[in-house]
Amino acid sequence: MIPALCFAQQKTVIGYTNITEAGVLHGKSQTAFNVQTINGITFNQTSIGLGVGLDNYGYKSIPVFIDVRQKLGRGACKLLVYVDAGLNVPVRNNDLLPAKWDDGNEAYRLHTNFYGEAGIGINNKINRKLSLHLTAGFSYKHFSYTEHSQIWYSMPYLFSSRNATYGYYYRRLSVRLGLQF
């Protein structure tokens, strides 16, 4: 745990912070559950951290991202703005395709692509250490995989390999409730 530092001249307090959120991602394809946790540092009303989550929208994946948040205003209840950027790491799932064809060759390969989000929210301080927030934002993730297929053109051993890469671009509304300490 990073100890809080107090610089009397600048009145800047740097400390450790954790933000844990759960909510939904809603878009054209579906409405899916989402949870994430961010660990980082906070100074004044800004926090920067490294986040990891579970994103069940479309194809299940684990976003890994840098999160920057800024609280605006005074008092216990503040406006919150945030932006995330990072990677969308797909979770291998053999429901998509068999992992290998019967002859042992790889059937598909998943790719890591971009993940990003930006939004606003309300941050309400519950006590000196804990605050509750509600956020809504625009969430984007790019999922892609390459499918390795085989076309059999001669009985039964001769085939040509073909590859096709599918890219899915998900643009969703995210709504989350979270706790920060």
């Binding site: 809603h26 878009g27 054209k28 394809s29 579906q30 929208y57 479309g58 194809y59 205003g73 005074r74 008092g75 216990a76 209840c77 503040k78 406006l79 998509l96 064809w101 019967d102 002859d103 042992g104 060759n105 939004g119 606003i120 929210g121 309300i122 309400n124 509600l134 809504a136 625009f138 499918e147 085989q150 076309i151 059999w152 053109y153 001669s154 009985m155 039964p156 051993y157 001769l158 040509s160 390999s161 073909r162 590859n163 096709a164 890469t165 599918y166 890219g167 899915y168 671009y169 998900y170 643009r171 969703r172 509304l173």
Partner: protein
């Protein structure tokens, strides 16, 4: 009085805080709601498919025949079946033609020439004649002078089932000679409620690699003729035997430059391979192994049949046993079995399974003496001691990408694999040494 003033100030501050909170929460919530409404038009999912579209380029059969000649050697892109004759290896370039490789020195093979034969999959050689299929037709090619190859004859429509390739049918007078390749990105519609939706479309052809040569050390050279276990052509004395998916065809090649179709026999279904041994033909099919007697070479007669579960199976034989590999492979081979069956053929009227050995994904195989080579897919080339058919022992596993077929001849094992053409010298299962490799480089 002082306490009253302090208390009043504190109360005023608290009241102001509460008032500010009351104003901030509705304002923030309103801002949130406005943002959601504004951005709602951006909440949509899209998808793309990135692939290559291959469009066939046709040539007339006459153009193809006119181009049967010694062309400059070409890089090996997709090695297929092999045929060894004298000091030469004839290596099929899948669906494109035949590489002629001078193997006088197996430690330093030389790629001498290439023959363009669209649709070529199988080859066999006798004397100065190379027999090669070209989709539906059989080409007879004079290879007396490797530098001056010419077409001697062609037999039309010997393989009528090969009048299409990858969904494209070929008119009687034309064949698919090449492909126009176009990189394509297609937008895919994502329906409501469907996060992932694949839309297959037809594309063909294989990946292309460049060839470089790589050599290891030195040794002897093969002298006999031999095809691999994956072949659909076999030469026995003055006859060329070919199998289609359901037929066995006999061609008299007494005149090597003019093969004459003399017999066509329906022998079953899903016929795959043919292997000659002494005066017998061992034919592999998806339902079993057939043995045909060549007492009358013009009219092969079926003897025993050894059935198995539906699978793809090349077969070879020696005096006492037949060796059949079964492998799974997508929709063509149906089964999930991957194994070697050893069948006792000492009494051809009552053959029996001696033993089954589990493998990974076996395809071509070859045997010389007690050394058994099996191409076991991505497990590479496996070398077995087959002294005792009831106890075949794995002695060596040689890594290589997707080993396809092997020919063991005169103590040299020649292997066609996805990543190249290998040659190994061997004196026993424990003593296998790499001689050379014609590398396929990605």
């Amino acid at each position: 009085m002082g306490c009253s003033i302090e208390h009043a100030i504190e109360q005023a501050i608290q009241t102001k805080k509460i008032t500010m909170q009351k104003k901030t929460i509705p304002a923030s919530a309103l801002l949130l709601a406005i943002c959601v409404v504004i951005l709602s038009g951006c909440f949509k999912d899209t998808a793309t498919k990135h692939y290559k579209i291959y469009t066939p380029i046709y040539k007339t059969k006459q153009e193809v025949r006119d181009n049967i000649k010694s062309n400059a050697p070409q890089a090996v892109n997709s090695p297929g079946k092999m045929y060894v004759y004298g000091n030469y290896i004839f290596l099929n370039e899948r669906n494109r033609g035949v590489h002629i490789i001078d193997n006088s020195n197996p430690s330093s093979p030389v790629n001498k020439a290439f023959i363009n034969i669209p649709g070529n999959e199988d080859i066999a050689v006798k004397g100065n004649a190379l027999y090669a299929d070209c989709y539906t037709d059989l080409m007879t090619i004079d290879i007396t002078n490797i530098n001056n190859i010419s077409l001697k004859d062609f037999t039309s429509n010997l393989f009528p089932e090969r009048n299409s390739y990858g969904g494209f049918y070929m008119p009687n007078d034309k064949v698919i000679a090449d492909w126009f390749v176009k990189d394509t990105i297609m937008n895919i519609e994502i329906s409501d409620g469907q996060g992932i939706w694949t839309n297959g479309s037809y594309v063909t052809d294989s990946n292309i690699w460049n060839l470089t040569f790589s050599v290891a050390s030195t040794s002897a050279s093969p002298t006999k003729a031999a095809g691999g276990s994956m072949a659909r052509f076999a030469i026995v004395d003055n006859y060329l035997y070919t199998v289609t998916t359901s037929q066995l065809k006999s061609l008299d090649i007494t005149n090597t430059n003019q093969p004459l179709l003399t017999n066509t026999k329906n022998i079953g279904w899903q016929i795959e391979t043919i292997y000659p041994f002494k005066n017998k033909l061992f034919i592999g099919s998806q339902t079993g192994m057939y043995i045909f007697d060549l007492g009358n070479p013009n009219n092969p007669v079926q003897g025993m049949m050894f059935g198995h579960a539906r699978a793809c199976d090349p077969v070879i034989a020696d005096d006492n046993f037949a060796y059949v590999t079964l492998h799974s492979g997508n929709s063509m081979c149906w089964t999930t079995s991957n194994e070697l069956n050893v069948i006792n053929i000492q009494n051809l009227s009552s053959s029996s399974l001696t033993k089954t050995y589990a493998l990974t994904n076996p395809k071509g195989l070859s045997k010389q003496g007690n050394v058994l080579f099996i191409c076991d897919g991505n497990d590479g080339l496996k070398v077995f001691d087959a002294t005792d058919a009831n106890n075949i022992v794995l002695k060596k596993k040689i890594p290589m990408a997707d080993a396809f077929d092997v020919i063991a001849l005169n103590n040299i094992a020649i292997v066609s694999a996805k990543d190249g053409l290998y040659q190994y010298s061997f004196t026993s299962p424990n003593n296998v040494t790499l001689l050379s490799k014609i590398r396929v480089q990605q």
